[in-house]
Symmetry: D2
Subunit: 145 residues, 4 copies
């Protein structure tokens, strides 16, 4: 099955963060341990919300968390200490109580990984809840046209 | 789409590890940060190879690594500090240069997460390679009948 | 200056945990990354409180946290993937609003590391506070005679 | 005993890195887990070598590693998600086979932590070794006058 994130959708809002790989992210194969890529996705997702919607701390102040319900990463090539990655994030789906993001991780001209995450909106007690209408409308405006 | 790992295949070889959640695995939502579940899968996979095939250190001595090419985790419910998880691992697919594992993470009677990982076999220079015939035959004998 | 934790004080209450080093704790030198030893100390400290005083979750229910104010680790030899460490913890000092622990990390017959941590007692707002009298008396009974 | 790193020595060469605290560095107390500060020191130390001596990857190419033998961190105040830390690093001591660094971690106008690390020079087999003369002379020129 073709990886649907080899192409970033035309016209979609996106954000990217640069990340120089620290020594502590490497493992005994001398490459980045795969669990760390999950963290890199979070960096880009937090940046996306901050740049296009609102800071994640505001979500929390407004009484809800956006929890991870699924994370799927496909690794194309290894990364080594001190290499500079670019992590690109965009919205793939927005519903009243859930959303999904797509990702590419690039290393110069090379594609290092693609990823997707699915999220549920929960209140401070961890119960699934709907996000405020204004929030959902704003997020839906960021999807690919 | 139904999560195909809600049921562990009948008759498949499996291994499980117990893991009491340390404080350092929690995040500011007071639950296990999702990136840590990727590590829990590794614990169970390493145990599986050791119990059913050979210790991972022997793979390395024989000149190859089993690298992660994909990890896909579906989180069903959160986990808190000091809770005891059981991580169950089984083989889903074995080819000459790749393999895939399925996982369940359970918390007492509850299903916490399901997962799958895909792996490539590489030599010490990181190049894709076939695993030795004996290895492949052994691993294939562990699949669901 | 002689490392004061080369000898565990006679007659002191102590706890130990076993920890088999997972692959994800290694770095590109193929040894355990030093930041992970700080986590190993926490495992032994949590075990110590549970075995000799009360579970850390009870401290939290009673309205206080024991926060880390200092951590000092001396590394004697490296540790590799799949090696089994024993982390030993004992109390070094107990005051009404602070306490200190000593540690040894052993690998079979070898001493891998020694450590110490200092802690302050804080309430749920993060303010320094005294621990309940009963708590302090119990903890002081665990010191070396 | 007064913390000797409350003041950065006059005239010493130093480097600093900025680090915005990611969500994954927080713990269930909603503050940065203390083990992560050890990693922040590494970021600043790697930057120091790169800016004032040579990139750490060059050390490795020249056949040696600079391993951590001690890490001592004093935490003054907690840090929360999304706060911006500045990690400042300087050399405290240089001998032919060992060196030591001092650190401050600052959060705006506040001192968050101080730290020190001691290091040994080892070859690719992990044996203690002397660093090349040119390296030692260069590093000693960076000490406080």
């Amino acid at each position: 099955m073709l990886d649907p994130r080899l192409q970033i959708p035309d016209g979609v809002a996106k954000s990217s963060v640069n990340y120089v790989v620290p020594f502590y992210d490497t493992d005994a194969m001398a490459i980045v341990h795969h669990a760390n890529y999950v963290r890199y996705l979070e960096l880009a997702r937090v940046r996306f919300l901050q740049e296009h919607d609102q800071a994640y701390t505001l979500y929390v102040e407004q009484g809800f968390h956006v929890v991870v319900m699924r994370v799927d990463i496909q690794l194309k090539r290894p990364t080594r200490f001190d290499e500079r990655l670019e992590v690109i994030c965009w919205l793939e789906r927005v519903r009243s109580a859930s959303l999904a993001f797509g990702y590419q991780i690039r290393n110069g001209e090379f594609l290092t990984a693609t990823g997707m995450t699915e999220h549920g909106v929960v209140n401070m007690q961890g119960k699934a809840t709907r996000m405020p209408e204004a929030r959902r409308i704003r997020l839906q405006s960021l999807l690919a046209p």
